[in-house]
């Protein structure tokens, strides 16, 4: 199984100003890495989920995500925004954006990795470490350490 996240999938200076731009920008990195086969198809799936209920949560987090037929591997794209991007959380825009892509027919093993990723997102220490990370490599190592225990 491919890594959940690589440094190519991290953007520490996300320029986008709205959630769709931010999602598209991260999704393009996923496509470039071969994790997403059809960019627009995947974005449409993410948009459907986002329309059900905004994915932003308090504490500056946005989690656009989808299970999609256009995804090959469970993948995390991570973006950090200076200005913040509105993901519908009540306390304001998100500065940490996690694009979670899950393959449609993903097996339990795939889903378990994403589940433990989601669990880590709740921890303030994990978020803080991501905010302080100086480079993409640090982010990748943080995720590997916290989520995969590697």
């Amino acid at each position: 199984m491919a890594d959940l996240i690589t440094s190519d999938l991290v953007d520490l200076d996300l320029a986008a100003t709205d959630r769709h731009e931010a999602t598209r920008s991260l999704a393009e990195r996923l496509r470039a890495a071969g994790r997403v086969t059809d960019l627009d198809g995947f974005l449409a799936d993410v948009r459907v989920r986002e329309a059900q209920m905004p994915t932003g949560i308090e504490g500056g987090i946005g989690i656009p995500h989808a299970r999609s037929a256009h995804v090959t591997e469970p993948t995390l794209g991570f973006g950090r925004s200076q200005r913040g991007v509105d993901f519908g959380a009540e306390d304001g825009p998100a500065d940490l954006i996690f694009l979670i892509a899950a393959p449609e027919g993903g097996g339990a093993e795939h889903m378990t990795i994403l589940a433990s990723l989601a669990r880590r997102l709740v921890h303030a220490s994990f978020r803080e470490a991501l905010r302080q990370a100086p480079d993409p490599e640090t982010v990748v190592n943080l995720v590997k350490k916290e989520v995969l225990g590697q």
Binding site: T55, M111, L114
Partner: protein, 513 residues
């Protein structure tokens, strides 16, 4: 405090797990134990039933329907969105504490937060308005069998009381011939056609006829309700349909309440068996609504009609022929036999054979058999009513209430008044009833009592020959029945009142929020 929670969200890959983590952190920070079932894409590991049973409060943090939420019925519940659990888990835990607090002593509180109207209705339908059962899943099979039967009985008792008292009132107001006015037949040599058009019920049978018809209709549901709620106690909501159908079929094939009891247990067992079959998630959605009711009803119905119905029909014929061949033998022996039969299944096939024998004798001019049959049919409810008064602690609160109605039902020759007691504890109760009825049947024969009425009980005492001795025969059987029931129930078992208090869960509470 012990908390169980379910989290679920539309995609099942992110918020479900974030909410679970947030709830776990907040609960532990507040010093509580918590177990969370994440109904997400990684597959839900169901909460162990013992953890649900032990939980003081339930938290649903869900944006989509919680699967199998009936598992949590009767528990103090806090229901909210998955996001609120992530954003503000500590206050949610505090709400769970508040919801659990009154549950210890008084009625259960449901704390509802951030619920839309649809959610409230759904919640009311799914959990709060759900009938309670008396079933403790941890108990051994013997105890649970009794709890299943008690659940069925507790739902049946109001039907017995309402129907039986209405019928008794109809007899009081309209005379015993009211039954024939409504249903047809011969009473005192008068042929009644019966009411075929219900809109003419009051005109043809009077207000007493109206009471009789309503009471008889409530009585008609007695065995279906018994069977339906036995199956419900075993297998939850999916058990109700096959259980009720089995009970209706028990009536159709003349199997009486014992047939309904067996049918209800069969229906519950079949549903439980079907639930064990692992099905793909796509099919799982239609299992409770379509597949389980369809298959279980078909199977239990076929069993009732073919496997149970045909032997009962054959046995009924055999018994009838045998009784006919006994005509002219020792009258006291015949009285004993008829008494045993009347009390065996209270409206079931054996009882019906004895009663039909009485009717046939009456039609051919032998008034003694009818008198013995009627007297023997009166003692089961009377004896149980007496026993439940003199030894209260041997009976559950529900049974004691049934006992109050049983005086009137017994006096009116409505033997069904004994069914709640017999269905809850057949092995102890039925033999006791049979002994008492045999005594009464024998005495009525020995005294030479006669009856020109086929029903009506004490209200037709004017049509009874040697009425004082008739009352003596009934009183003797009532005393014997009560004595046998008390002895049988005192052997090898703890007071049911305490046992029942322990087995009733927090209970179903109407949604007030």
């Amino acid at each position: 405090m012990r908390i169980v929670a379910v989290t679920s969200c539309p995609t099942g890959i992110a918020h479900t797990y974030m909410a679970a983590e947030a709830l776990e952190q907040a609960a532990r920070a507040a010093g509580h134990e918590i177990k969370v079932e994440t109904q997400g894409a990684a597959g839900a590991e169901p909460l162990p039933p013992q953890d649900i049973a032990a939980a003081d409060a339930v938290v649903f943090a869900a944006d989509v329907e919680v699967r199998d939420r009936e598992r949590f019925a009767g528990k103090p519940l806090v229901q909210t969105s998955v996001k609120r659990a992530i954003n503000d888990a500590p206050s949610l835990i505090a709400e769970a504490e508040a919801a659990a607090a009154p549950a210890a002593g008084g009625p259960v509180a449901h704390a509802l937060s951030e619920l839309g109207e649809v959610d409230r209705e759904q919640l009311a339908m799914d959990t709060a308005a759900r009938p309670e059962t008396k079933v403790d899943q941890q108990a051994g099979l013997g105890t649970r069998l009794r709890q299943w039967l008690m659940t069925g009985v507790s739902y049946m008792i109001p039907f017995v009381a309402a129907g039986g008292i209405l019928i008794a009132l109809a007899f009081l107001l309209g005379g015993p011939e009211v039954a024939n006015k409504v249903n047809g037949g011969t009473f005192q040599g008068v042929e009644y056609p019966g009411v075929s058009d219900l809109s003419r019920l009051v005109v043809e049978a009077g207000w007493a006829g109206l009471l009789f018809k309503i009471g008889a209709t409530a009585f008609f549901m007695l065995v279906p309700i018994l069977a339906g709620f036995i199956a419900y106690a075993m297998a939850d909501r999916p058990g109700i349909v096959p259980g009720i159908v089995a009970g209706l079929l028990a009536g159709e094939i003349g199997a009486g309440f014992l047939g309904g009891l067996v049918g209800g247990l069969l229906a519950g067992a079949i549903v439980l068996a079907i639930k064990r079959v692992k099905v793909p998630r796509g099919v799982a959605g239609v299992m409770p609504v379509v597949v389980i009711p369809l298959v279980s009803t078909l199977v239990v119905g076929a069993l009732m009609l073919v496997v149970i119905g045909q032997p009962i029909a054959a046995a009924t014929d055999g018994l009838t022929n045998w009784l006919d061949s006994l005509s002219g033998t020792n009258a006291v022996l015949l009285g004993i036999l008829l008494g045993l039969m009347m009390a065996f299944d209270m409206g079931g096939p054996v009882n019906k054979v004895a009663y039909a024998f009485g009717l046939a004798s009456l039609a051919s001019g032998n008034l003694k058999v009818m008198a013995a049959v009627m007297a023997a049919g009166m003692t089961p409810p009377l004896g149980l009513a007496l026993a439940s008064v003199v030894r209260k602690r041997l009976f559950t609160p529900a049974e004691r209430q049934a006992g109050e109605a049983a005086w009137l039902l017994g006096a009116s020759f409505i033997t069904e008044g004994a069914i709640p007691f017999a269905a809850a504890d057949p092995v102890r109760v039925i033999p006791s009833l049979m002994v008492g009825s045999a005594v009464t049947g024998a005495l009525a024969m020995a005294f030479g009592n006669t009856s020109r009425a086929p029903h009506g009980g004490i209200w037709v005492i004017g049509l009874i020959g040697r009425p004082v001795l008739y009352v003596v025969a009934i009183a003797a059987g009532t005393l014997v029945t009560a004595g046998c029931v008390i002895v049988a129930k005192s052997i090898g078992r703890t007071a049911p009142a305490e046992a029942e208090a322990a087995m009733v869960p927090a209970g179903a509470t109407p949604a007030t929020g």
